[in-house]
């Protein structure tokens, strides 16, 4: 499995768990508008969960740039390197 696929697989599990939707299928272009419950409360919870799950630290700039699932996957990939 390619690293990006592995990230998306783990992210999908994390999103399903956090947003309470077992049928959620992630796409890189998905934003908060596309995912029920991805509101400002869960946005912060998402960042904490991502940090904990992937063992990374999201920078202030990273938080600012984060607009869609693809951005998050990029942050994770960069953080793991």
């Amino acid at each position: 499995m390619r690293p990006a696929d592995a990230v998306y697989q783990e992210l999908t599990e994390l999103f399903r768990d956090l947003f309470m939707d077992d049928d959620l299928v992630l796409r890189p272009d998905m934003t908060a508008d596309d995912i029920k419950n991805w509101d400002s409360i869960n946005h912060i919870n998402l960042l904490v969960a991502v940090e904990s799950r992937f063992g990374i630290r999201i920078s202030t700039m990273g938080v600012e740039k984060l607009k869609c699932v693809g951005d998050l996957a990029d942050l994770i990939t960069a953080g793991r390197v």
Binding site: F19, S40, I41, H43, N45, K67
Partner: protein
């Protein structure tokens, strides 16, 4: 969309528009009552920014002198407000301010759109809790979920300090795209006491401090001191804070035994709130099971009932669910047992008597039907389902008590004049008393019901058929009803025989429908009805 306007008696000096979420309410009050530059002569408009359709306020915009606009996220400011700003006059002043919220006290909160319907006396769940919801949906025992949740150390699940840090980073990012910053105000107020009642609903004090900052940005006078002592407009409920979160952040405004305000004015402890939240899953499951049963999806309904039972034990709702599913699947003895178990747990709940009456009737236990039905009628009063009246009346009629049954049918027909069962039952009861003239009138009413409906709702009963048969040759409507009843029991040949008799006298839309139904299923040697 609602536009809330405050207009002073005096001639307006200017017009101000607040385009914000619920925080617009206290802002509007602050401006109208406590802002020296706005108390007189200004028209204050408030438009709730939850609404997507902003078209209705567009005509207002060219008149606006000051716009106070709240943004949701750092990224949405240009897109969200671009159209509004483009319609303002060039000299209009705009103050962008961030969404006001604080989430770290509720690390598991989420908008639970699936939370069960509110029950009388129970909290209403604007927010759900992920930790609890995950376990409740797996059908873990409710008492177990609750005890584990109360004993949980939230810091072991989520890095609470990092949650606060990330909230702060996100809040500062929002500040940067706005004309005023609020993060320092929120942080200071959260440290000082109860600044937030739930993730978005904050004290008036928080809002007034932010409003003061907006006034300063506009070069206006600060709020009068009274603004900070006003009753909290947004304190409509308090979302309970987990005891371990209270300990972690060293909160002093709540204790683990704090009673939290619920929607509607009640107050419950943390534990009582989450007990009710867990129960709401059972309420939702039982409601969903009922819908599934109505769609004849019994296996799925059974699974939901089993899950509700695991979570909440054999509660009244679970017994009622089983009584319903067993009645609808023809297990009448078991259904009566379940309904009686529900009655034993709550003798004031009419639903237990309803299902006991229903199942007893189909079981053929007419005395029990009358007893359970009467109890249901007493408890349900005006809410009595008309079918209870019909079952009781049918039971009385079949026990040879048509004089008792006739008034009950008439009551049912007052409640639901379209009831074919009540009309048919009344006709048969009248025949039993020898009143053929009125019986014929009610048979005529039955004839006007659609045959499909009649087949579904009318119960085949040999006594009724025996009673109607002597009239079949002379009353076309008796033939029609007998035809419908024969279809209901799958006896197409007999049905066609009755329908041919009825056809001999008249032809109605419904008779044609029934005849066509029979002819489609007709054995090839049967004589057609409509030929």
């Amino acid at each position: 969309m609602t536009v809330y306007i405050h207009q002073d008696i005096a001639e307006p000096r200017g017009e101000l528009l607040i385009f914000a979420t619920c925080h617009g309410w206290p802002i509007r009050r602050g401006l109208v009552q406590f802002a020296p530059d706005f108390i007189d002569h200004w028209r204050i408009h408030y438009v709730e920014s939850f609404h997507e359709a902003i078209d209705e306020i567009l005509p207002l915009l060219p008149r606006i002198d000051i716009l106070l606009a709240q943004i949701e996220t750092a990224g949405d400011a240009p897109a969200r407000l671009g159209r509004i700003r483009s319609l303002l006059r060039p000299d209009a002043r705009v103050v962008l301010f961030p969404a006001i919220g604080y989430t770290p006290h509720w690390p598991q909160a989420f908008r639970d759109w699936n939370a069960g319907p509110a029950q009388p006396g129970k909290p209403w769940f604007v927010f759900g809790d992920r930790w609890v919801a995950r376990r409740a949906r797996r059908a873990q025992a409710g008492s177990e979920i609750l005890s584990q949740y109360c004993a949980l150390d939230m810091a072991s699940e989520i890095d609470l300090d990092r949650l606060h840090d990330l909230w702060r980073i996100d809040a500062i990012n929002k500040d940067r795209v706005c004309d005023i910053a609020i993060t320092d105000i929120v942080e200071a107020e959260v440290r000082a006491g109860q600044a937030f009642f739930s993730p978005y609903h904050c004290s008036n004090r928080v809002v007034m401090r932010i409003l003061d900052r907006m006034l300063a940005a506009l070069g206006k006078q600060a709020l009068l001191p009274g603004a900070f002592q006003t009753e909290d407009i947004l304190k409509d409920f308090e979302l309970p804070i987990h005891p371990s979160v209270i300990r972690h952040f060293g909160l002093t405004h709540v204790t683990p035994t704090h009673r939290y305000l619920t929607m509607g004015g009640g107050a419950v402890t943390f534990e009582a709130f989450y007990r009710a939240y867990i129960e709401s899953f059972t309420v939702a499951d039982l409601a969903a099971a009922t819908s599934l049963m109505q769609a004849a999806r019994f296996e799925e309904a059974q699974k939901l009932l089993a899950m509700a039972e695991t979570r909440s034990g054999k509660s009244v709702g679970v017994h009622l669910g089983y009584a319903e599913i067993r009645t609808l699947t023809g297990c009448y003895d078991a259904a009566v047992n379940d309904a009686e178990a529900a009655i034993a747990l709550d003798r004031t709940d009419a639903r237990g008597y309803y299902w006991a009456c229903h199942a007893s009737f189909y079981k053929g236990d007419y005395l029990a039907t009358i007893n359970f039905g009467n109890a249901c009628l007493v408890l349900a009063r005006d809410e009595t389902p008309h079918d209870i009246l019909v079952w009781v009346a049918d039971a009385q009629s079949r026990l040879g008590l048509p004089d008792l049954a006739i008034p009950a049918y008439r009551r049912a027909l007052v409640k639901w004049p379209e009831s074919p069962n009540a009309a048919l039952g009344l006709a048969i009861a009248l025949l039993r008393t020898g009143d053929q003239a009125e019986a014929q009138i009610w048979l005529s009413v039955v004839e006007h019901k659609s045959p499909q409906r009649l087949q579904l709702v009318s119960e085949f009963n040999e006594d009724d058929v025996a009673l109607l048969k002597p009239f079949a040759a002379t009353w076309p409507l008796a033939s029609y009803v007998l035809g419908a009843k024969a279809i209901a029991r799958g006896d197409i040949l007999t049905a066609m025989s009755f329908l041919r008799t009825a056809r001999h006298f008249y032809l109605s839309r419904h008779l044609v429908g029934m005849a066509e139904f029979c002819e489609a299923k007709m054995p090839c040697h049967a004589q057609p009805v409509l030929a």
